[in-house]
């Protein structure tokens, strides 16, 4: 038995093929979900991939948040279903209110595509159990609106509760507050991440395979392996 992980495609979604490939690479079943779908087809978790949903018109993620499928995702997340938003997906989850804060234009004003070092700060979320605390991983970052912003009290809450999942190291690429690359919700089930773990699943097409750990983590979460037991864990390069 393996997990069924949904990958949403909105018009303008780009990294859905990559997210689905990463899911398959983790030996889970990738289930395509369409923005107009009226049910989640029995998936165990959902990936909201990167791209420019609905052209990112108005504001990144602002329109996608109202897609029929997102209503279902919000509902399922409320019941604890693991959800990962990558890049545009992170923006959508913030717009949908599943995660706090907002993503704004990069401080350098240019789109930035580069291999980015991240430090894993939280290894108890549904998507990060396979990593060692403090592990540094190298994955691609590619975004124009990746600057993470939140008000002071939200930041304090995130930091205080250990909900910053990953942080930029070796230089802040986009002006994110506290070098935040990704955050999680209060229960650690919903994670938003600006860089792209799905583009780092092998050394042939990505800088490393460091991103695969996120997909293996959620598989553990779904299949019930307790975090840290090493029941099905493999070494994740750090």
């Amino acid at each position: 038995m393996t997990a069924r992980i949904g990958v949403i495609t909105f018009p303008g979604t780009l990294d859905d093929v990559d997210a689905a490939r990463a899911v398959r690479r983790a030996d889970a079943e990738a289930v395509p979900l369409w923005h107009g779908d009226a049910d989640l087809r029995g998936v165990d978790a959902v990936v909201v991939p990167g791209g420019f949903s609905y052209g990112d018109y108005l504001r990144a993620g602002a329109i996608a948040r109202f897609a029929p499928v997102m209503g279902l995702v919000i509902e399922a997340a409320g019941k604890g279903m693991p959800v990962l938003g990558i890049c545009n997906g992170f923006q959508i989850l913030c717009e949908a209110g599943l995660l706090p804060g907002a993503l704004v234009r990069n401080s350098g004003l240019h789109f930035v595509c580069r291999d980015q070092w991240l430090r894993v700060e939280n290894t108890s979320s549904a998507w990060t159990t396979r990593y060692e605390p403090g592990a540094e991983i190298l994955v691609p970052l590619k975004s124009g609106e990746g600057g993470y912003m939140a008000d002071r009290s939200t930041l304090a809450e995130l930091e205080g509760e250990g909900r910053v999942v990953m942080r930029y190291v070796g230089g802040n690429p986009n002006g994110s507050l506290n070098d935040i690359a990704g955050v999680t919700d209060a229960r650690g089930r919903v994670v938003g991440l600006m860089p792209h773990p799905e583009h780092a699943i092998d050394g042939l097409t990505g800088p490393t395979d460091d991103g695969l750990g996120m997909f293996l983590s959620v598989l553990d979460t779904i299949l019930g392996a307790a975090p840290g037991t090493g029941a099905t864990a493999t070494e994740v390069p750090a």
Binding site: P11, G12, L14, D15, V17, D18, R21, G51, F52, Y54, G55, D56, Y57, G108, H110, F111, V112, C113, R114, P140, K142, G144, H196, E198, H199, L204, T205, G206
Partner: protein
């Protein structure tokens, strides 16, 4: 919005009744004799709509009227053997090559130079959009883009306006489209000030049986226009911008038009791509054509003239986004993100359903008819009634006067031999650092960092590698490699040799990745064809390129000509950009560019170094000099070199490789070390001039790193095949420095600062 009454159109009936009605054909870019020929073809004066169609389709951009007689040479020099892999060639939207395992790959380059000067962001963005639709129109999924860019001096104020806009436009459109940008060029030269070159190349793949060609066949089949609505943008773009003059008056109605540069919407195009691929997948398309330059005028006339019947179009059915558009405006609008398909009547409902799924506007605007006329009506009145071939394929053909420029001999005689050369270690050290940091040799990171190179997960190699490599088949690992190159300074000195040098470099760049070069596309950027000197450059470059391709045994499958790239009387450097496509049966055996991947590597220099500095980067940067002969080109040697590299890749004998080109060995060493983040120790030939060894730009050379264990086997193979090689050093992971013995030692940090600092300092 109020509905306005249909614009009173100039009908065929009216044209017959008012034969002497004055028409603004000159303002539309037509010459007196061209206008007379249209009258002869039709046996009457053209209607306003017909005049619009002929004027855009007979523009230089669409009709190739000045280049046609020369481009024929490509066909004449393509042998049956070269054609063997070609599934579609020149004349189609893009060339198609069989790469094996049932896969076909289509690729093509196109220019969007003039619009990119007027409006850098949109000009560049729609350049990418246009070439992507060309690839899509062949039935292929677009997989990657490359961009070949040329600008005025890096420190010129206008370059600060044009370059950031162009780069943001290429990135903004391509990133949003979900196509990785895997390669290209950025070159600076004063002649491109006021005339930047923006050449975009797209590559796509499909199963061989899915190839679609642009023709309207089968009487009764429906013509469906789908994608964006048609507006007033880009009207007359091809005739106003690509021919004659920038300041061309907007002819015709005297009504204010939107700018001639089109405005792109990459989201619409992304949706259009997915919609088209679903249509292809369901077998709902008989023929398809993208709407690019000359819009519907081009699409309808080209589809009709390539088909087996005539065509009837109800122009008033075209969905518009502006009120009161005339038939002429609708026909010549260059609104982006539109396609035109030929569909069997029984499939129309299914076709429209797929479009509805993707929220793509689709409208049946016409049908294939008996006979051989293209008839277009506007509210039941005939506004166009023409033989489509006369619009699309039988435009004027010019034999422009050709003469070798008067200053050519003086240019060749003014060689670099007398220029003062560095000789002491300190001078050589300074020269290396100065060249590494010069705008043409400095790292392109500032540019390429704005492009998504990862999307779709098939990118195996991308900038700063010599070539972009894309995996096509995830199971077998079959993939393609692509490189574009041109050197305008070499071409200015000798356009025949210069074009061959561009071909040789692109060919070599593909080969250093381990791929086998199989086909060529080109984008020929030149000054005014009305200048006999420019036409000489053009003719020479075409001959050089075609002869070169024949010698290498790889065909030119398509391309693009861009004339009138000049400011006043000053033409750009002749710039034939050459794109070479290579095939690799398994991308896992690609050769990377950076050294240090394996412990214990030996560095070998393949090929021969001669005292060649004509047109070199050293002469340009240090002496602002252009003269003498460009490097010699030896295509038999290039072929041998490619065979050795492919064999080296196949047998795992080569761990890194980097082509030598502008800046010579010094530049190649610096780049290989910095990309691999690994140091090296270099020992030059004590019996030869270190300056020549480090900076000469002799062609046919590659720097390779081989694992020490493979060194004897690899060098034996080179020797056996007659390829000159020299051991020039070893990779030294411990040192973090590039040591050139007897010259200088450079810390990698020092080199990185020099190499990567230049463009950010200029453009941030």
């Amino acid at each position: 919005m109020t509905t306005t009454a249909p614009h009173p159109a100039d009908t065929v009936e009216q044209a017959l009744a008012t034969p002497e009605h004055p028409q603004p054909y000159r303002e539309l870019g037509l010459k007196d004799d061209e206008y007379q020929r249209i009258r002869e073809i039709l046996g009457r004066r053209p209607t306003e709509a017909e005049l619009a169609m002929y004027s855009v389709m007979w523009s230089e951009h669409c009709s190739y009227k000045s280049s046609k007689v020369h481009l024929r040479y490509f066909g004449e020099t393509t042998t049956d053997e070269m054609r063997a892999r070609m599934l579609a060639g020149i004349g189609e939207n893009a060339g198609v090559v069989d790469i094996g395992d049932g896969w076909a790959v289509t690729f093509k380059a196109e220019s969007h130079n003039h619009p990119s000067y007027v409006e850098p962001y949109q000009g560049a963005a729609t350049g990418v959009g246009g070439i992507v639709r060309d690839i899509l129109a062949m039935g292929a999924r677009p997989l990657a883009v490359l961009d070949s860019l040329r600008f005025g001096p890096a420190d010129a104020p206008d370059t600060r306006r044009v370059l950031p806009g162009v780069v943001a436009g290429v990135g903004g459109y391509g990133n949003c489209l979900g196509l990785p940008n895997v390669g290209g060029e950025v070159v600076f030269d004063p002649t491109y000030a006021g005339n930047p070159l923006v050449n975009a190349l797209c590559v796509g793949a499909m199963r061989v049986e899915d190839l679609h060609l642009a023709h309207a066949s089968g009487v009764g089949n429906k013509i469906i226009l789908f994608g964006a609505r048609t507006g007033l943008d880009g009207i007359g773009g091809v005739s106003v911008l690509a021919s004659d003059t920038f300041a061309g008056e907007e002819g015709g109605t005297g009504r204010k038009k939107l700018p001639s540069v089109q405005v792109g919407d990459p989201f619409t195009e992304k949706v259009l791509i997915e919609c088209c691929l679903e249509l292809f997948g369901q077998g709902l398309v008989v023929g398809i054509q993208d709407l690019g330059g000359a819009g519907l005028a081009c699409a309808t006339s080209e589809l009709a003239s390539a088909g087996d019947g005539g065509m009837r179009v109800w122009l008033d059915r075209v969905p518009l986004r502006a009120t009161g558009m005339t038939p002429a405006e609708i026909l010549s609008s260059e609104s982006q993100e539109r396609m035109c398909a030929v569909v069997r009547p029984a499939d129309v409902a299914a076709f429209l359903a797929v479009c509805a799924k993707w929220d793509v506007t689709a409208t049946e605007i016409g049908e294939v008819t008996e006979g051989d006329r293209l008839v277009i009506t506007w509210h039941d009145q005939v506004v166009v009634d023409v033989p489509p071939r006369t619009v699309a394929h039988e435009g004027p053909v010019y034999h422009r006067p050709i003469s070798r420029p008067a200053d050519q001999d003086a240019l060749l005689a003014n060689g670099p031999e007398t220029l003062p050369r560095p000789s002491t270690p300190d001078e050589l050290r300074d020269t290396l650092l100065r060249l590494v940091a010069s705008p043409n040799l400095a790292s392109r990171r500032w540019v390429t960092q704005q492009y998504d190179r990862y999307v779709r997960g098939g990118t195996v190699l991308a900038q700063p590698a010599d070539t972009g490599m894309i995996r096509i088949d995830e199971e077998t690992g079959r993939g393609v490699a692509l490189a574009t190159d041109a050197n305008g300074r070499y071409c200015r000195l000798d356009p025949y040799t210069g074009a061959q040098l561009a071909l040789a470099e692109a060919y070599r760049n593909v080969a250093v990745s381990g791929a086998t070069p199989v086909a060529v596309t080109d984008c020929l950027n030149f000054g005014s064809p009305e200048d006999p000197g420019v036409m000489w450059q053009f003719e020479q470059a075409v001959r050089g390129l075609a002869d070169g391709c024949r010698e290498l045994g790889i065909p030119v499958t398509g391309g693009n000509v861009s004339f009138y790239n000049q400011t006043g009387d000053t033409a750009i450097l002749p710039t034939p950009v050459v794109g070479v496509l290579g095939v690799i049966d398994d991308v896992r055996r690609r050769i990377p560019m950076g050294i240090g991947a394996e412990a214990g590597e030996t560095l070998l220099l393949l090929g021969e170094t001669r005292d060649e500095f004509g047109g070199s980067e050293w002469a340009h940067v240090v002496h602002n000099h252009l003269g003498g002969q460009p490097p010699r080109v030896d295509l038999a040697r290039e072929k041998l070199l490619a065979e050795v590299l492919v064999a080296g890749s196949r047998d795992g004998m080569v761990s890194a490789a980097h082509d030598l080109s502008e800046g010579g060995l010094a530049q190649a060493l610096v780049e290989s070390a910095l990309v691999g983040e690994t140091g090296a120790r270099i020992v030059l030939d004590p019996d030869a001039d270190p300056f020549v060894q480090l900076f000469a730009e002799s062609a046919g050379r590659v720097l390779v790193a081989v694992p020490r264990t493979e060194e004897p086997r690899f060098t034996d193979m080179c020797t056996a095949r007659g390829l000159p090689w020299r051991k020039i050093g070893v990779v030294d992971p411990a040192s973090r420095a590039l040591e050139i013995q007897g010259v200088a030692t450079f810390g990698l940090d020092e080199l990185r600062e020099a190499w990567e600092g230049t463009l950010p300092a200029l453009f941030d």
